[in-house]
């Protein structure tokens, strides 16, 4: 199944209609699209306006490939499942978001080899023709980097008090931190 999703905040017909045209021509019949709140209706694929979070995760988990906007929610979840993913960023000048932040997200994550980017609907149409060539990304952990977790943990526990020793070891980095502070 090809899973298409553009997030809950606003529709992205430029992406979803491109996939619909492709679905018409290839007749694959196994495309599911979460299109968001829009008046436009797909003619050649299964769709819904909005999935609830558990259905959404299930669809992502079952997908062979994911076509999406450059939203971090979908990208992070798809990376957890190591799904090949084609990302088309929303553009600020077309009023698809408030600004061009998705273009920056897409560029940075493509540079890290996390996602394949289609910069416009022509590139997306081309990628749809060769989905089997979209790179499968490295699977990521279900939590943030240890560096960020340690920083947040340190912040939460606040200034060290005698009692703070009782929480040492909850994170790998905690032991080091305790030693550093003891020194």
């Amino acid at each position: 199944m090809i899973f298409v999703t553009v997030g809950a905040q606003m529709p992205f017909d430029r992406l979803t209609s491109c996939v619909d045209r492709w679905a018409a021509s290839c007749g694959s019949g196994d495309v599911f699209d979460e299109i968001g709140n829009t008046d436009w209706r797909p003619a050649h694929m299964d769709w819904t306006a909005m999935l609830d979070p558990s259905e959404y995760r299930q669809r992502l988990f079952e997908a062979d490939a994911v076509i999406t906007h450059a939203g971090m929610g979908t990208i992070l979840t798809a990376l957890e499942f190591a799904k090949p993913m084609v990302v088309m960023p929303r553009r600020g000048d077309l009023r698809e978001t408030r600004n061009d932040h998705q273009v920056g997200t897409a560029r940075a994550l493509a540079a890290d080899g996390r996602v394949t980017v289609a910069w416009d609907e022509h590139e997306l149409a081309a990628w749809l023709e060769r989905l089997d060539q979209v790179e499968v990304p490295a699977r990521i952990a279900s939590h943030a980097s240890i560096g960020l977790l340690s920083a947040v943990r340190d912040f939460i526990r606040g200034p060290v008090t005698p009692a703070a020793g009782s929480v040492a070891g909850r994170l790998g980095a905690d032991d080091d931190r305790q030693r550093r502070r003891a020194a």
């Binding site: 979070p53 558990s54 971090m72 947040v152 912040f155 939460i156 008090t161």
Partner: protein
């Protein structure tokens, strides 16, 4: 600080903000966490932890901002958290602001989606945040947000 559990108010709006907050949860282990988000269906993600649902204010319309601010202020007064942690956006901004004013320690973790500049809420949140973090090293600067890692 006492030997007891710390009360954390963990705040995120929907989609990527919520997913990123979930990825920070190992850092909350053993503490008392109260969640605030914008979608009731996210309750399934947090088990038995208490969760408040607030309106989102993504379009930055004046009325929804006022409504959101009042609701967050009420939650902070009621819960009296020791710590506020947020991954944005508008609900997180009001949470660090009212959190700071109520004496809580506050942390803003700007969304990983903001690669080239901090979000608007993120820039404004700096003055209310004891810990002000970006997830991209290039955006870290002295007197500005710091980089300690990313949710990925």
């Amino acid at each position: 600080m006492t030997s007891g559990r710390i009360k954390i108010l963990a705040v995120a709006s929907g989609g990527g903000h919520w997913v990123q907050l979930q990825r920070l949860r190992p850092a909350f282990a053993g503490e008392h966490v109260v969640y605030v988000t914008v979608d009731r269906s996210y309750r399934a993600d947090v088990g038995t932890a208490p969760l408040y649902v607030v309106n989102d204010a993504t379009r930055w319309s004046k009325w929804s901002l006022v409504k959101l601010a009042l609701r967050i202020a009420w939650i902070i007064m009621r819960e009296r958290p020791d710590v506020v942690v947020t991954t944005g956006a508008a609900p997180g901004y009001f949470a660090v602001m009212f959190g700071k004013l109520s004496g809580a320690r506050t942390a803003w973790i700007d969304s990983m989606a903001n690669v080239e500049q901090l979000s608007m809420a993120g820039r404004k949140a700096g003055r209310w945040s004891d810990r002000w973090l970006t997830q991209w090293p290039a955006l870290a600067e002295p007197g500005g947000p710091a980089y300690e890692g990313a949710v990925l």
